[in-house]
């Protein structure tokens, strides 16, 4: 007996009415019921009778529900099928709401890309100097000296210290010294190269550090005077493919050195990089017994299990024992007496592994990193990531109204809350996984830019499994963190209230969401204010009156290679009408030029009170004119006064410290240094003051202006020329030509005073760039979140807007209505961010002796910028919503 189509349709509809919804079961059950009905009709029943009978046997609505629930449970109780199902539904959901998915993915990828790059950076910074086998037992000895009211921290120690350490302190396994003379000129045949990485080293260097030798015997090299070892790349540069062993190199045009070994290039992650190590044996200074001059970087290896604190105090005892008699001899006082007068020389230990991030002493080998940057970068990465996660949370909870029906049906069908939570977590983990993939691509794309920003040469550790594993962990962890709140929130809905048609709390319970939006914008505004503050300070530095004129001054380095032709070089250049003046002096008011500290006292009895420790700069007659400084009393050096050879010009600060009311004509004294840098108590030099120069900034604006004096002399490491504006190219041409004539085969290196001045603020410019980059990212992410949120809100209020328009609301009033709420949040965020930004700026500016505290307008500008961006974002959505035809939005009512 065949059933009619209408009869089957009747049964399908009836079964649906009785709650048959589970699709995989539907066809089957219908077939089942049909078969039952057919059998009964063959027995003579009429259709309705047969159907009713079948249904009684089959069970009521309750039974149907039970059946579906059981099937669902059985099908998905196997793990794989379960995950498969979660994934399938997640993908469907993401596709269905492509707009929100894209906002989520883009925001998260940007955040994650930041995190990936910054993690690489932090790992790189934390892994300095770990390649030495004894890294955790190596210490450097540094020096804290307080004298004449000045505190200085040096990375260098007296020459005899290392030997004394090894012979007198049993806890010290071995020690070695380095001595740097700065740049060297190196040549093999004719052409000189300027080399930075040249160092004198003790042969013990191989026992302290791990420096693999590719050629030569570590037991023998660096022992004989006039021998050196060279790095692999250095060897390639000078000798190409030929064997460098036993070849000769000429240093500074005068010293012949034999190559006795080749060492592996030092890793990038090292706080020093040498290309040439010269045998210390050839350096007379290394053998002196002077305990009062500090020129040697000294490293040692501590025995295992020895206590560094105790060794530190032993080293200080040792120092006082040796240096005490020399102090007595020179100063006429014991060390204790000096200490009571407030002077001090204290040695302290720096663990090797701390040097890169935590040491910024005088005479470091290279500028070190700074733990501050590690903190700043990490904090910013975390912030950006949180911003992106907030977008995710906000969108998920806001859209909960959309999904509440789904939650209701699922719950009615017997889905447990835990299944729903798993479903939502799967969705968020899926999104983060996609984002991680995009993020890695973004990170690869922006790595060069980031390297520039962080001054690094980081590459991607693609071959490192840890990298991949941590990426996967990131995806799961972040997906979990971002998804956990929406998951619990959405799954907590009560099916009865949802299905009765009550709006879920999603759209309205906006408190958490508002707080998160405020948080996002507070961070964005903080970064904007930070950016403004950094540029404000940089601008201040650029325009500060420095006490000298940095414009149109060219500086030529290594001028000493001109030897006795230096004066004729200067005269010949100056004969050109474009040049205004020139001076021969290595002492310039920018860092990276010569410095020398000496103690002077007013003529007569020497006491702590009348002593002043100050910079002593050696200059020539034309210095003042070339640098554009200004005399406020007396006169500068002049060739008309032969007696100027022992005259001195003070700066205001020095004159003040001496307490001179009439500085001109006063006389001051100091020790005359012996050729080996030692001091003889009896030999003094006396200078008479001929003038006072207006204070000028010779260090960066982070420092106060120190005391300084100038006197005439030979300091030939640099020549500077002042030239007329708008002839830079011609001036360079001229200098190059003359240099080639007079300094055959020597490399010409020049720079401009204003550039060198700018370089002192490279760190600040970097911070500025960091803030700009990340502020832009933060604003983009927060803006995107707001954009999506606004879109959603406008969608929710479509009907309300329709009704308002019908009632005669203008478009403007509707845009205002929709934008008002978000604007309030941004303004609140502004007030939250002000105190934090203010505090941050204060801390940062503390590093500057001269600073421009940003005024209120800087804060206002940043706040207004954020508000403006927020308004544009929101108004796009509001205008779209406001301009829809109310007929469309109200048609279905």
């Amino acid at each position: 007996m065949e059933l009619k189509k209408s009869q089957i349709e009747y049964m399908i509809a009836d079964l649906h009415r009785r709650g048959l919804v589970y699709q995989p079961l539907e066809e089957e059950l219908i077939d089942h019921v049909c078969s039952m009905v057919e059998v009964r009709m063959e027995d003579g029943m009429r259709f309705m009778e047969a159907y009713r009978s079948a249904l009684t046997l089959f069970g009521d609505e309750r039974e149907i529900q039970n059946l579906q629930q059981q099937s669902l449970y059985n099908t998905y109780s196997t793990r794989f099928a379960m995950i498969n199902n979660y994934l399938k539904i997640s993908i469907r959901n993401l596709k269905k709401h492509a707009f929100y998915s894209i906002i989520n993915v883009v925001g998260l990828s940007i955040g994650l890309a930041c995190v990936i790059l910054i993690t690489l950076y932090v790992l790189d910074e934390l892994n300095y100097d770990r390649h030495h086998d004894k890294a955790d037992r190596i210490y450097r000895i540094a020096n804290h000296i307080r004298f004449g009211g000045n505190d200085s921290w040096y990375a260098v120690c007296p020459a005899p210290l290392a030997d004394a350490l090894m012979s007198e302190i049993p806890e010290i396994e071995v020690a070695n010294r380095f001595r740097s003379w700065g740049d060297f000129l190196v040549k093999k045949d004719v052409e000189n190269f300027n080399e930075e990485g040249v160092i004198w080293a003790d042969p013990e260097v191989f026992n302290v550090f791990t420096i693999p030798l590719l050629k030569g015997n570590p037991e023998k090299v660096l022992k004989d005077p006039n021998t050196l070892i060279i790095s692999e790349s250095g060897a390639r540069k000078y000798f190409g493919d030929t064997d460098p062993m036993n070849q000769t190199l000429i240093l500074n045009n005068s010293m012949n050195y034999k190559v006795t070994g080749v060492f592996q290039d030092m890793p990038v992650n090292s706080h020093f990089h040498f290309d040439f190590m010269l045998a210390m044996e050839g350096l007379d200074e290394s053998k002196n017994q002077v305990w009062l001059s500090n020129n040697f970087q000294t490293y040692f290896v501590l025995n295992e299990n020895a206590d560094p604190g105790r060794v530190e105090s032993k080293i200080n005892e040792l120092f006082v024992n040796h240096a005490g008699p020399q102090i007595q001899q020179i100063m006429g006082k014991t060390y204790e007496e000096l200490e009571n007068e407030g002077a001090k020389a204290e040695l302290f230990l720096q663990p090797l592994l701390d040097i890169h991030l935590n040491s910024d002493l005088i005479v470091e080998f290279e500028p070190n990193g700074d733990i501050k940057y590690v903190y700043i970068f990490s904090a910013i990465a975390l912030f950006i990531l949180i911003l992106a996660m907030v977008n995710f949370m906000n969108l998920s909870t806001a859209r909960s109204a959309d999904r509440s029906k789904e939650v209701g049906i699922r719950k009615v069908l017997g889905s447990l809350r835990i299944y729903l939570i798993r479903q939502f977590l799967t969705e968020s983990i899926l999104i983060t996984t996609i984002s991680i993939i995009v993020a890695v691509l973004l990170a690869i794309l922006f790595l060069p830019y980031f390297n520039n920003l962080a001054q690094k040469s980081i590459s991607f550790p693609f071959s490192n499994p840890v990298f991949w594993i941590s990426l996967i962990l990131y995806a799961v962890l972040i997906g979990f963190l971002a998804g956990i709140y929406p998951a619990f929130f959405l799954s907590s809905f009560k099916p009865v209230s949802i299905l009765k048609g009550k709006r879920s709390r999603g759209a309205k319970s906006s408190l958490v969401r508002s707080i998160l939006v405020i948080f996002q914008f507070a961070i964005s505004i903080m970064l904007l204010i930070g950016t403004a503050a950094v540029y404000n300070q940089l601008n201040f530095i650029q325009n500060k009156k420095l006490g000298f004129n940095k414009e149109q001054v060219i500086i030529i380095d290594d001028a000493y290679v001109l030897d006795n032709q230096i004066n004729s070089f200067k005269e010949e250049i100056l004969s050109d009408p474009r040049m205004r003046s020139g001076t021969i002096s290595g002492y310039l008011p920018v860092s990276n030029s010569s410095r020398s500290n000496t103690t002077f006292w007013t003529k007569g009895e020497r006491t702590m009170e009348n002593s002043v420790n100050m910079q002593k700069w050696i200059v020539d007659h034309d210095y003042l004119e070339t640098m554009g400084m200004e005399m406020i009393e007396g006169r500068f050096f002049s060739s008309e006064f032969p007696s100027d050879s022992n005259a001195v010009v003070l700066n205001e600060r020095a004159a003040g410290l001496f307490g001179f009311e009439e500085p001109v004509g006063q006389e001051i004294q100091t020790f005359r240094f012996q050729p080996d840098n030692s001091i003889d108590e009896q030999e003094l030099e006396t200078y008479h003051v001929i003038g006072v120069v207006r204070n000028f900034h010779f260090e960066s604006l982070r420092e106060n202006i120190g005391s300084l004096c100038m006197n005439l002399g030979q300091s030939t490491s640099k020549i500077s020329f002042k030239f007329n504006a708008s002839s830079t190219a011609a001036v360079i041409d001229l200098i190059e030509k003359k240099w080639k004539d007079l300094a055959v085969g020597q490399p010409l290196q020049y720079s401009f005073l204003d550039q060198d001045f700018g370089k002192m603020y490279a760190a600040e410019k970097r911070i500025g760039l960091v803030f700009t980059s990340f502020a832009i990212l933060a604003v983009i992410i927060a803006g995107m979140g707001l954009f999506a949120l606004a879109a959603f809100m406008a969608e929710q209020r479509t009907k309300e807007i329709g009704v308002r328009k019908v009632m005669g609301a203008s478009m403007g009033s509707i845009v205002f209505l929709l934008s008002r709420d978000f604007s309030k949040l941004v303004i609140l965020a502004f007030f939250v961010s002000i105190p934090l930004a203010w505090y941050g700026i204060r801390v940062w500016l503390q590093g500057f002796a001269y600073k421009d505290v940003p005024g209120l307008y800087v804060y206002l500008a940043a706040g207004l910028a954020a508000l403006f961006i927020a308004l544009i974002t929101v108004s796009y959505q509001s205008i779209r919503a406001a301009s829809t035809n109310p007929a469309n939005s109200l048609r279905d009512e």
């Binding site: 077939d31 078969s35 039952m36 059985n74 099908t75």
Partner: protein
């Protein structure tokens, strides 16, 4: 119907065995076949049958194929290779169970 409690544990075995012997069957057919073989004494409820079938499909012991018959769609179940093995295992398990129970209860059922 009286034996529901005891049947519960053996439902899978019954279905697997039936499908081992028949190439393919649909749900209603299975209920009828069981009813027929038990002389009407054992009637499978839909509430027990379909969830079990779905579970066996999810675990890979059965596959399904649908076919249009007359005016409606019919879903057939077939056993997989894995299902054959599992069926043998289940039957063996059941024989062991009977043997054990008969020892405990001191009865002597005849097992063919």
């Amino acid at each position: 119907m009286r034996k529901t409690e005891l049947i519960k544990g053996t439902l899978q075995t019954i279905i697997l065995k039936l499908l081992s012997d028949n190439e393919r069957m649909y749900g209603y057919e299975i209920t009828q076949k069981v009813k027929e073989m038990s002389n009407g004494e054992l009637v499978l409820t839909e509430g027990a049958l379909y969830p079990t079938l779905h579970k066996l499909v999810a675990e890979g012991f059965l596959t399904t194929e649908t076919e249009k018959t007359g005016k409606r769609i019919r879903k057939y179940y077939k056993i997989t290779n894995l299902g054959y093995v599992f069926a043998g295992h289940k039957i063996g398990e059941f024989i062991d169970f009977i043997r054990m129970m008969s020892q405990i209860l001191q009865i002597k059922p005849h097992l063919s």
